[in-house]
């Protein structure tokens, strides 16, 4: 399952929830970058634990995510990858 993030950047983040183990390190790293505070609710990447879901987890991004990639750096499970966005024609 691939989901994209912000348009502001020339970068985008691909999320593969099948690799996600649900550690939420991405969310903590995101909120920490924003204001040096760990706050799951403030993170621009959101990992949700679901009931009866084949992947167990779902990964989404809020509209204000600027695809900085801090979550990619901190994901221990390679569920997130950073790519340069293709220019829209």
């Amino acid at each position: 399952m691939l989901e994209k993030t912000a348009k502001k950047s020339t970068l985008l983040i691909n999320a593969d929830a099948s690799k996600c183990a649900g550690c939420m390190t991405c969310m903590l790293s995101c909120s920490f970058r924003l204001d040096s505070t760990f706050n799951l609710a403030a993170a621009r990447i959101q990992v949700r634990k679901l009931v009866n879901h084949p992947n167990e987890f779902e990964i989404t991004f809020t509209n204000d995510c600027d695809a900085c990639g801090i979550c990619v750096k901190y994901c221990p499970y390679e569920a997130l990858t950073h790519q340069r966005a293709r220019k829209e024609v």
Binding site: A21, S31, R48, P76
Partner: protein, 653 residues
């Protein structure tokens, strides 16, 4: 938000009156006891009378987080709980993972104290300032997984501490799983929750953040830890196999049924079977991590060809093979898939009911099966149940215990209670039991190392792995040089190393004290002490992390003193409840030979070099108490030691 690293409040909920209030966590308490198990001990000492009946409203459930919870520190997932145990009347600690610790703090609470008793089933919902006791009539009767799923559907992003039917029926050997993966409450926590008519505690993800005093310093430390984790040579394989990857080597030549004095030998081709089970396990497994954990040892297990989909806290190779062993109904011709499927079925049933398999139920089944075979109990006692060692009988007895049906009512009291109720000399058949629970390692087979010694002296329950110097000391026979290196990592001071180690041996009693000092800090910080993650930490790293998070500069020596303070308070809590040296004594069976097929196993030291008699173990206990500054006769902390630790108020209490 005053104190960096802390949410800043303690939440008090009284189920009798329905009153809910929060009080600020004062800085002095946080500095003195740090958090987690430390502040839990202080609250338990102040709030639970030593003679409280465990299943009465007088008992309290105290849940605590530490200053690492809520941060990005790898493995900072653990929540601690303390209460008076209905299994043995002690004050055991236990910890569990999942999301609870972080979610509780995200609502603004470091600790949660639950007292009293509700008239009707309720669950406690915590979401920022919205803290509510909700009607749980519709959840009563549901199992651990069903309750968790139902509450997740109601609150979406939440963490759940539920009870299953065993807790509802006040089963002393009940336990639960946080978020279908983090075991919590060995010693009967769920029975205490059940007695209070508390079906679940739900921490909905809140909106409050946790600050670090020095964000840059913390980030640097975390980056270094994560780099080491990612470069760990076993990590890639562990991502596939989970805990089983690391425990496959633990399989000895046979399974020791917990209560038995004989080995149940594995088939000659056990290694081959184990390898096949491991492959099935890898393809069945979806890795699940507790929050912040890069090692993901929790499992979702999907075996569609057998219609099995379940969750477990970490499936170990030993457990999978043992469960399908002769003690529990394995047929010699069983295929690896049959064995694995049987194991998962059994895990699923005990986990759903909420029964403590590891420290109680497996040994208990072996105990009563032995009594049955010896003619101590008959079908008349069991209400017509054939107490065979067949798998179907095992599942039947599990249900009977969870519902306290018939003979299951006796099983539900745990091995000591069951023996007492059975009478007829049944207590003479209790083996390998300390403080009312079965030990997980018989030192006649595994050697008398730090883990095995720790099972004796750990307050409240015979937990060995949580405070015993860590890997590599778990495996017998490591070279002295490695063990000294390990001791240095755990912050054992030079002068103590000189006292503990010789060129070819070490004093396991004295060493145990220092292992406790180190691993107790994990319980105070909210950090996981499982070997997969704790191996990346040292006393120095813990001191650095604590300083960066809280802004309170500490040295390893300061931390060690704080840990010792908390341990002594915990000891006093248990001593006050009647636990002294007699409860630390080794089981008599350890000094009798364990008969294998063609050899005998006798108690020997960690290196399997020196035989150990009862007097030797007694001397090691003396040494442990001496190292701790406790009275050798009683195990009571001396007035001098308590004063040295600033616990003056506990002297001669």
């Amino acid at each position: 938000m005053g104190l960096p690293g802390y949410a800043g409040n303690i939440l008090y909920v009284d189920l009798t009156s329905g009153s809910i209030r929060k009080e600020p966590l004062d800085a002095e308490t946080a500095r003195t006891y740090i958090g987690g198990a430390g502040i839990n001990n202080k609250l338990a000492y102040d709030l639970i009378p030593p003679d409280a009946e465990p299943l009465s409203p007088q008992n309290a459930i105290i849940i605590g987080t530490g200053p690492f919870n809520g941060t990005i520190i790898p493995g900072s997932s653990q929540v601690m709980v303390i209460y008076k145990s209905p299994l043995n009347n002690a004050f055991p600690h236990s910890n569990g993972g999942g999301y609870f610790s972080h979610f509780l703090k995200s609502s603004g609470y470091d600790h949660l104290v639950i007292t009293g008793r509700s008239d009707k089933p309720v669950y406690l919902k915590i979401h920022d300032e919205d803290v509510e006791l909700c009607d749980a009539s519709d959840l009563w009767g549901k199992d651990v997984f069903e309750t968790t799923d139902e509450l997740r559907q109601r609150y979406e992003q939440c963490s759940v501490i539920p009870i299953g039917q065993a807790g509802e029926n006040l089963v002393n050997i009940s336990v639960t799983q946080i978020d279908k993966g983090g075991t919590l409450g060995s010693g009967g926590l769920c029975a205490v929750m059940g007695s209070k008519k508390l079906k679940a505690i739900v921490a909905v993800r809140g909106t409050k953040g946790i600050m670090a005093a020095d964000p840059k310093r913390l980030q640097k430390l975390v980056d270094e830890i994560l780099t080491r984790v990612k470069n760990y040579h076993l990590r890639d394989e562990m991502m596939k196999g989970g805990a089983m990857t690391m425990t496959s080597g633990w399989v000895p030549e046979g399974a020791l049924a917990r209560n038995s004095s004989v080995f149940l030998l594995y088939p000659p081709n056990v290694k081959e079977i184990q390898g096949q089970i491991y492959e099935i396990h890898k393809r069945s497994r979806k890795k699940i991590a507790c929050i912040t954990c890069p090692m993901s040892d929790k499992d979702r297990l999907n075996l569609p060809e057998r219609g099995i989909l379940t969750y477990d806290t970490a499936v170990f190779a030993v457990g999978a093979i043992m469960t399908a062993s002769p003690a529990f109904g394995h047929r010699a011709e069983s295929s690896p898939l049959d064995r694995y499927a049987d194991a998962l079925r059994f895990f699923d049933v005990v986990n759903r009911f909420g029964i403590d398999r590891v420290y109680s139920f497996e040994g208990l089944i072996d105990f009563v099966a032995t009594l049955y075979e010896e003619g101590i109990i008959t079908k008349e006692d069991t209400g017509g149940v054939e107490l065979s060692r067949e798998f179907d009988a095992l599942l039947k007895l599990t249900k009977m215990a969870a519902f306290r049906e018939g003979f299951g009512d006796i099983l539900a009291d745990g091995v000591v209670g069951a023996a007492h109720r059975i009478g007829k000399g049944a207590d003479k058949y209790i083996q390998n039991v300390i403080k009312g629970q079965f030990v997980i390692f018989d030192p006649r087979v595994s050697g008398f190392g730090p883990m095995q010694f720790e099972m004796l002296v750990y307050p409240g329950r015979p937990l060995g792995v949580a405070a015993a110097m860590g890997a590599p000391s778990y495996s017998p026979g490591w070279p002295i040089k490695e063990l000294v290196r390990q001791a240095e990592r755990c912050g054992v001071p030079d002068e103590a190393i000189g006292r503990i180690f010789t060129d070819n041996s070490f004093n396991v009693g004295r060493l145990a004290k220092h292992g406790e000092d180190f691993f107790n800090l994990f319980d105070m910080f909210g950090q996981c002490h499982r070997l997969y993650i704790s191996r990346f930490y040292s006393m120095e790293i813990l001191a650095e992390l604590y300083s960066a998070v809280t802004g309170i500069e500490v040295t390893p020596t300061d931390l060690k003193a704080a840990s010792e303070r908390v341990w002594n308070l915990w000891k006093m809590l248990n001593y006050r409840a009647g636990f002294d040296r007699k409860d630390d004594e080794p089981p008599e069976i350890w000094f009798q030979p364990l008969k294998g097929e063609d050899k005998e196993y006798n108690l020997k030291d960690y290196f399997f070099a020196a035989p150990l008699a009862r007097e030797d173990v007694d001397r090691l206990l003396d040494d442990y108490y001496d190292e701790r500054g406790w009275d050798k006769k009683t195990s009571l902390p001396t007035a001098k030691k308590l004063k040295e630790l600033g616990l003056d108020s506990l002297v001669s209490s």
